[in-house]
Amino acid sequence: MIRKTGYIVLGIIAGGLLESLFIGYDYYIVALMILFFVAASDIISFNTGLSRSIRNVEVRREIESNSARKFQMRPIRIFFTNRTRKTVYFHYYDTLSDVFNTEGDFQGYIILKPGEQTKREYSIASIAIGKYKVGPVIIYAEDPMKLCISSYTAPVIDEMIVSPALSDIYTQRSERLSNMKFTYGIHYSQKIGQGYNFYGIRPYNESDDTKYIAWSRYGILNGEDIYIKQMEEERQIDVFFVVDYGIGMNQGTRQKRMYDFVIATVMNASYSIVKNHDGVGYIINSSKYDYFIPAKKSQEPIRKFEQTISEIRPNGDFSIFQTFSRIKRDVKKNALVFVITPFSYPESFRKGTRKEFETNKKVSLFILDPYDFMEKRKDDVYSALMKNSGLKHYRYLTALSKFFNSIGIKSSVSREKDLLYRIMAAYRYGKLTNEGA
């Protein structure tokens, strides 16, 4: 295919040839005719030669493994084989998403003799979780005078599944004492009944077990009154994380993406909760995704959650009404439900009544402020603009939060630095008040 430069050069030379014919100077006419046919020969020989030959270059890619953790380097090898009888010269590049950091020869220039094979190696590391394509490989060649270009897309595409980095989900590691900070000292509930911890005393009834009589309080009032000890029982609860995985979660910069942060936070909270002998379950919700992972008191739901979100990326729309209906329908047991969403759909949101949000569960809504995921620049004007915009959005989210609080749904506006703390504080409160038992 001729480039714009090729058209310009040919056009100018043709115009000059016409001018030379009007002038009539023989040497000028000959010079321009030769120039015209040199350019034309260059283009025609490229179109009939190298341009067709690059389509017979065989491309093959080898990846060590199709799954990786965030920031983990994966080596890739690409093999090029010349199946023609001519030497081919071409540039190549492997098409990669911008989430990948690359090292090595993912692009370059190759000369291949007939039948020759060559290998190029490079490594990629993803900076965001999800499923991403690697490829196709684009091959393009130019003529010597750079008047034409021909490209060929080698149909070699692989997929890379990226799960959270181990450094992001630090609470998975048991040896860190700081992982216990959220759950220290909250192993009791106020459920009255037989249990292992003393709660208080009350007058004895005929149906009470005599082993719980508080002999030290016998006859304290009238000489014959008997009192029974009240014991309390620790109850285990389930926590459901409902994650908005609509396109609104795909906010942020290349280095920091909202969905990436939320998933890491949810997993950190989950590991802390599971180590505290409670169960976790998940609902991943949008118009494109509808995943339900039942709660269990083990790490199995967390692993399933990790596996599920590694294979998808935020897509579709999120509806708070449909989400609450889902919670009501699918969360059978009384549980703590934590809904995390940035509420990025103001156009479709409408204020509803208490009845529309009834789930019979203890729901806490965490509205994520996207300010921490905005691009930061040193430009004063841009900074001022972003601050004002962020403040306005924060006021909107605060108003939303107030509305949900007014209809009985605990809600708060969270930032990047305090989302985990808010989640664990809500869990702690629920544990203390036995809300999810």
Binding site: M1, Y25, Y27, I29, I34, N47, T153, I157
Partner: protein, 278 residues
């Protein structure tokens, strides 16, 4: 990527015929040129170099606007000198000396800009523009030497022959009385050598520029040079053979058209199928 010095050197070689013609013809026209107008116009590319970069693209448009205003002022003064007497200081002399000055000044601008041009296409364009003006001046000099005429007589002869040849072209399809085709040019041999050098310099300028070059492609370039030279020479031979016939220019036209058709046919875009995930 080739260096700026190499690029300017190639430009110099490419412009060598135009520079030689300029240097050769200027002494003959010196007596018939309005030097003030020549200097005022020819200094524009130098001004463009000296002004801050963000204003450099405005130099030529501003100069053109000033020139148009001066022409309008001159016309107003000439139409009614008593009424527009205050425009006398802005009027420019509409004489042959002014037109020659403009001609030489434009040629100077094209050569100057072409020498400093970084893009091959722009350089080629400037070259053809400068040669287009300079070769007419050369034909006047050739007429002076051929028929021992004065400058003005040679000028009249050449312009008359030009008009006659255009008439022949549109009515009969050929050009018989072209001055450059029929007069003896004093610097013919030098121009022959310089046109060869210029052609090669243009080809290498395109090869070396436009995002770098690859040495291993020199063989392909040599093939294009060889094939292009053979075809260009053959077509010229056919054109020369059919001179003074009505098919003279048609042959060139058919040759150029056939080449464009061949380029178009071989440039057909092949469809790439959408690749599937393994």
């Amino acid at each position: 990527m080739e260096s700026r010095a190499l690029g300017t050197g190639l430009n110099l070689l490419a412009f060598s015929p135009a520079i030689l013609i300029y240097v050769y013809t200027f002494p003959y026209f010196y007596a018939n040129i309005n030097l003030a107008v020549l200097v005022l116009i020819a200094v524009l590319p130098v001004v463009k170099l000296l002004v801050p970069k963000r204003y450099s693209s405005s130099v030529y448009p501003v100069a053109l606007i000033i020139a148009m205003l001066l022409v309008i002022a001159t016309l107003f003064y000439l139409i009614n000198p008593s009424r527009y007497y205050y425009l006398e200081i802005f009027s420019i002399p509409l004489a042959l000396s002014t037109f020659f000055a403009i001609d030489f000044a434009f040629a100077f601008i094209f050569i100057f800009e072409g020498l400093l041009s970084k893009r091959s296409s722009r350089m080629i364009g400037y070259l053809f523009l400068s040669l287009g003006t300079m070769l007419y001046e050369l034909s006047i000099i050739a007429a002076m030497h051929e028929f021992s005429l004065t400058f003005m007589n040679a000028l009249s002869l050449v312009f008359s022959l030009e008009i006659l040849s255009y008439y022949e072209l549109f009515v009969y399809g050929y050009q018989k009385f072209l001055p450059m085709a029929n007069f003896q040019i004093q610097i013919n041999q030098e121009l022959l050598v310089l046109f060869i050098i210029s052609t090669i310099a243009i080809v290498f300028s395109i090869y070396l520029r436009e995002n770098g070059h690859q040495r291993e492609r020199l063989g392909d370039l040599a093939y294009s040079l060889f094939a292009g030279s053979i075809m260009g020479t053959l077509l010229f031979a056919v054109y020369d053979y059919f001179s003074y016939t009505q098919y003279q220019l048609s042959i060139i036209g058919f040759g150029v058209l056939a080449t464009f058709v061949a380029i178009s046919r071989t440039s057909r875009k092949e469809k790439n199928r959408k690749p599937k995930i393994k």
